[in-house]
Subunit: 470 residues, 2 copies
Amino acid sequence: MNAPTNPTELLARPVPQALLDALNQRFGAQCSTALAVREQHGRDEGSIQAPPPAAVVFAESTRDVQDAVRLAAEHAVPVIAYAAGSSLEGHLLAVQGGISIDVNRMHRVLAINADDLTVTVQPGITRKALNEAIKHTGLFFPIDPGADASIGGMAATRASGTNAVRYGTMRENVLALEVVTASGEVIHTGTRAKKSAAGYDLTRLMVGSEGTLGIFTEVTVRLYPLPEAVSAAICSFPSIEAAVRTVIQTIQLGVPIARVELIDANSVRMVNAHSKLALREEPMLLMEFHGSPAGVREQAEAVQAIASEHGGQAFEWASTPEERTRLWTARHNAYFAAVQSRPGCRAISTDTCVPISRLADCLLDSVAEADASGIPYFLVGHVGDGNFHFGYLIDPDDADERARAEQLNHQLVARALAMGGTCTGEHGVGIHKMGFLLDEAGAGAVDMMRAIKRAIDPQNILNPGKIFTL
Amino acid sequence: MNAPTNPTELLARPVPQALLDALNQRFGAQCSTALAVREQHGRDEGSIQAPPPAAVVFAESTRDVQDAVRLAAEHAVPVIAYAAGSSLEGHLLAVQGGISIDVNRMHRVLAINADDLTVTVQPGITRKALNEAIKHTGLFFPIDPGADASIGGMAATRASGTNAVRYGTMRENVLALEVVTASGEVIHTGTRAKKSAAGYDLTRLMVGSEGTLGIFTEVTVRLYPLPEAVSAAICSFPSIEAAVRTVIQTIQLGVPIARVELIDANSVRMVNAHSKLALREEPMLLMEFHGSPAGVREQAEAVQAIASEHGGQAFEWASTPEERTRLWTARHNAYFAAVQSRPGCRAISTDTCVPISRLADCLLDSVAEADASGIPYFLVGHVGDGNFHFGYLIDPDDADERARAEQLNHQLVARALAMGGTCTGEHGVGIHKMGFLLDEAGAGAVDMMRAIKRAIDPQNILNPGKIFTL
């Protein structure tokens, strides 16, 4: 196994004054070199730190992005796209220096094609703002990572969330992209047609490329009709194993459950404190069913029967939209609730995903290791997909504690890979998981990724030092 | 618009005797240079012809594929993977010479992971053989192009078929691949985990790469629980428009219909003759519903109501598995029924796919053009996805007729692209659609594909002259 990468080993490239002058001339007030602005753009929600970028350009159009990239390319200086800043693996860190291109002002909805169940947006719009903007159509966009992330960032990291078990991830839901390449050209990948066999799947290559192959300036995603009926339920279990076995059986039977989240007793306790709830502090499944009224009833009955075989407590139903929102908001806030439970801490978040038949084994061994470590942690999981997150809550100034948490992560990833799984279900590789990627994909596959990167970005200016080193 | 490519413009590279000797030495009876064998491997089901490959290697293992590729690479000679031979766009033609690597003997099921809903197979197994092999598990593999194609070939062309409206295409259903690269190395892409954000999506890049980036030696695909209830129905309509409007409304309402195929009156007539059926010779929808008994009933009622608004005749139900199989076999045989309806003809098959809101407009204008041309044709469509096929039945020796049919295809593609669609929903680009790909994706995107190709296959030996020219 390869150890997690230490970003301080990577060298920053100089940003010449001539580039800063040219950016200032082209962008004026849309460009900032103020330290506070640079620092804000040089970090994410993860636990790794690096010096900030040399400047921040606030792009307002595709043309702005093109011009910023062209100027940077002239000086072979790195560019890093920035929107919500909610990534977890150091994606936004200027580990090789360079400039940040902030696309938050590019947050328009460009075209709602309700009849085709598609929408085209600029990359800076967040998932919540998108859903607000399309509310009147009777459609929704289901992908929901914990944070209110930007659609561009979600595409760049191949994000997913709680709805993926039914609706897929950004992999399945991005139809087309407008991309600014390393030379500042604009290309379009994909079309609004639902399927295509037209050449290499550049859309899927770009989705999950973490800013290393291009900067997205338009994103077309699939939408779904709001289900006629929705019902949510929570169910407590005597053990994590009982909860997980319930999920495995549900998936294997083909019940089209929309969401099924595992929340361990630690997380329930933290969520109760943070969101002022009084949930039973035991391992819990939070579920949601979408469909026709009869279909939802049928699904719920099937899952209730499975749960009760595994000692699940009687379901508690959240029948009104308000109750549902409250429960799911609590789930989405689990990460923040956990971080607040230990003042000054940072969370090291794991992200393994395994074939569902191995989920119980993978989880239970890892829970035992985490319990034995004494490090405070929480555990939540998109268990319908075999994906779960431990959050080890470490004191960032305690090197020993960080090392022990990384060791837990290391053991967990090794276990997941041995079971045919992946080191990252939805957070991406960034800086933090480069070693794990090599273990998972093998040197030959990573070399192929490097060859693609060199072919598309010969100067290595697009978010360099992420996914792999060249 | 770019005209369809003429493959005779492409030059064959010489295959040196030293390579043939080396292949003979390594493979013995597993290698053939007999003309009949070479000719069989130098054609597909499409309408374009080219000289055959210089030799055929019958690979029985990944190692065999590696060795054949390595020997070819030493002489910079093209290699073309071959399995069912059912592609339609000239994918298998040795337009630049070279050797064919036949993987039909690699047809084993390597691992059925029923609990995870996945199976790993060798590339030569066909879709029907795969479904036969997993029948005992209660699971099925839904992707069903017209022919009994190989899983390797289906992955290489990003195939789909009648079930894609509900289950997706090969894009969504291939989880992982073992690939022999241009240098004869083996890499593994993807894992059996349901989702992953681990680096570039090499699996999706390989799916649809038409043999130009690697030869697949193992394919892991998703399986689905056989639905508890299945029911199929046919419904005739007074016009193609009425049928298409029924489909559009069904999709927009989010009815999870499993299959919905349009069959025009010409096709019904040909299918009746070929499959000894007595279907009403009017535009027809052939539909299938999957789910629980109640769910299937609910879906069928919803679609019946929509159909009757558009003048659809009362549904005729196929309630037994035998009746269903008969109907769907007839649909799958439509292509062959059509080709047999005009002795000696070849079909030029179109494959456009448009956003569903534009389906009626695109179809109706193209039907009018085809009717006016006087060329016999049939029309079938996976209309739930916005994808449809005209088959122009031409006399292959009549250059004028071929030119007029290509002109119809040309106009159809231009129309589809103007509507935000694609020139190929599921057949791939091959030789035939290179010009269309350039129109659709633009020079910048095709240049990016070329850059990727050069980076991964610097000698251009993997099925050269397909998708684009270098």
